[in-house]
Symmetry: C2
Subunit: 373 residues, 2 copies
């Protein structure tokens, strides 16, 4: 039987393997020179994260900490670091990918001679995966680690996915399921006549736009991320934006959660600041819903959802984010929501008409060109 004997490595795979090997060689060299083996790991704490005003993304600072083998409190995590590195090396060499859960099981075993497990729980392994990502400056997708895929795409683009040509104008009502790993060795863009990307928060709203063939009428690409978009969707949006120069407009709920989704798409997430460089899209625009939409769209009182304490607290926190704090329009947006005392879901526009959002709301916003930035 033809087994996976010949694995075709991409350029990036070769690079990642080299980085993994280099890391190991540093440790070996230290050992040979009778020095205590150690690796330097960039610090992934809030104290080492800042907003780069020029690049307009959240970035990690330069602080690192040492992880040593001969240190009682660090020996185990040193071992785990080597283990995860060797596990991802194995994945890349075999040309296979797995989930973080799969990697955990792949590497979990009882250490011979003692009764200790290499990992006691998933969380331990996840932390080390993030360490390896920052050490190597690799996205976990480049380490062949996939997440659950969520989110779909339709519109005026043809992509090649793993050799298969996928014409996103002919994807029916279901759409193309955006994979978790969308790196260039797997996904290439073949043909694109879209003028922009409309990214909506929820699948059910996406369905409305797809059913009304919005992408056809307005020559665009239509995506959703089933709430906070997963890494695959963020990375695909980034690639579509940076490689095909497509503007991105976000249609999200008028609530702190919607603001936060926008913030992550635009500036990156605070927890995973090291990924912003290849995930964040500072040029992304916020199309709506806006706090002024209740009045502007003449909505009925019935669609108001009262803000609760948690909403008010989150809204104030978001207003303080360095990338929002200096923007008058954003300050006003959040202030207006707080003064309104209510939030609005995109689906609230249904109260006007089923297709109000696709036939009036979004086309009007696009015509005006008046977005929050």
């Amino acid at each position: 039987m033809a087994k996976n004997t010949e694995v075709k490595l991409s350029k990036r795979d070769i690079q990642t393997l080299e980085n993994l090997t280099n890391m190991a060689e540093i440790v070996i060299k230290q050992a040979k020179r009778k020095k205590d083996p150690a690796v330097n790991i960039p610090v992934r704490a809030l104290s080492n994260v800042s907003f780069n005003e020029r690049k307009r993304i959240i970035e990690m600072g330069k602080r690192t900490s040492q992880r040593q083998l001969f240190n009682l409190s660090q020996a185990k995590s040193f071992m785990q670091t080597m283990l995860v590195a060797s596990g991802t090396k194995q994945l890349i060499e075999q040309g296979k990918s797995t989930s973080i859960r799969g990697l955990y099981y792949l590497l979990k075993h009882t250490i011979s001679g003692v009764k200790e497990e290499t990992f006691n729980e998933q969380g331990e392994c996840d932390t080390i995966i993030e360490d390896i990502e920052v050490i190597l400056n690799s996205l976990r997708e480049e380490l062949h680690l996939a997440a659950e895929n969520r989110g779909t795409m339709v519109g005026n683009i043809t992509v090649i996915d793993n050799g298969d040509e996928i014409d996103c104008t002919r994807m029916g009502s279901g759409g193309y399921a955006i994979p978790s790993i969308v790196e260039p060795n797997i996904i290439q863009f073949k043909k694109c006549t879209a003028q922009f990307i409309l990214h909506v928060e929820k699948g059910t709203v996406w369905q409305r736009f797809n059913e009304d063939k919005f992408w056809k009428k307005h020559s665009c690409i239509l995506t959703h991320g089933a709430g906070q978009p997963p890494r695959g969707v963020r990375r695909l949006l980034y690639r579509l934006h940076s490689e095909l120069k497509l503007p991105i407009y976000c249609l999200l709920d008028n609530d702190p959660w919607g603001y936060y989704i926008y913030s992550v798409i635009k500036q990156g997430s605070i927890n995973l600041a090291f990924e912003s460089q290849r995930m964040a899209i500072p040029e992304a625009k916020f199309l709506g819903l806006r706090s002024i939409d209740f009045a502007r769209c003449e909505l009925s009182d019935s669609v108001k959802i009262a803000l609760n304490d948690q909403d008010r607290k989150r809204a104030k926190q978001i207003a303080e984010y360095p990338w929002f704090v200096k923007k008058k329009a954003w300050q006003k947006e959040i202030e207006t929501m707080l003064t309104n005392g209510f939030k609005l879901e995109v689906e609230a526009l249904t109260n006007r008409d089923i297709s109000f959002v696709t036939e009036q709301y979004v086309p009007q916003r696009l015509n005006e060109g008046n977005f929050l930035d």
Copy 2:
């Protein structure tokens, strides 16, 4: 501009509209005859649900209750019933679909003259939607109501989705996103050379099977439902099974949640018993993971996850389900898990090898033909 002036109604749409109109006409007739308007609603309580041993599905009984307009405690829900019926009629006539959230917003308004809202919260509307489903014997998908879509499909089948031909052998790493509404007027099966369906629990496991092109080697269709499969996935599996006569094998975690997913696919869900007729697949088989797999697959102690009290309680409840209680093999399966004292995830097989599940575990089970029923 070309508006949706000509809506093409499917046969089923015409039937559903007729049923909706009939319901309204009964009310009108009553009023004209000076009788108190009322509708009969089949009772959706556990007391009116039973397991049909011959059909092997969970079924609703024949008990109904009356909902009257001139009854203080029923007047509001009578009004809501008429409102939801007229809302879905509007959707069907316009050839559009929306989410249950969308319908809620579409119908929510302040009743003129009083300060009452038609609906105060989503839950009220959802209950009425279920009422309408049972009154008309229509699935909510036939009422043009969609849910979030979850779950993907690849393999040896070509479907027509809303006029677009989708060849599921050429769907790359992402796959075809299974829509929420998969009724015959939207999805048709064009060509199928698959011999069976392998349904797996999680997207990450599905990715492993897709990456290894399992569906190609074994000539099958590969689906997942991101956990408990949503209605669209269940309905699609049902149609694939009943129209194309494809056997369905389920690969789920060896835990009470996995058993429960199987139970819902096979016999239907207790809460939505009225849908079993067109959703449940009594012939579905449970391929694994089995409680004997820890020993049979020579897994390491490291992959065991200890059962907690909740697991034990759920396992015992499931063992008592009428469709499991008389099956020796199922009683033994659940008993063995309880004696083992641990559960196993499908990903645990990764501990043997990344592709152990696709190259050994599932092929061996298929060869033996030894499934739980």
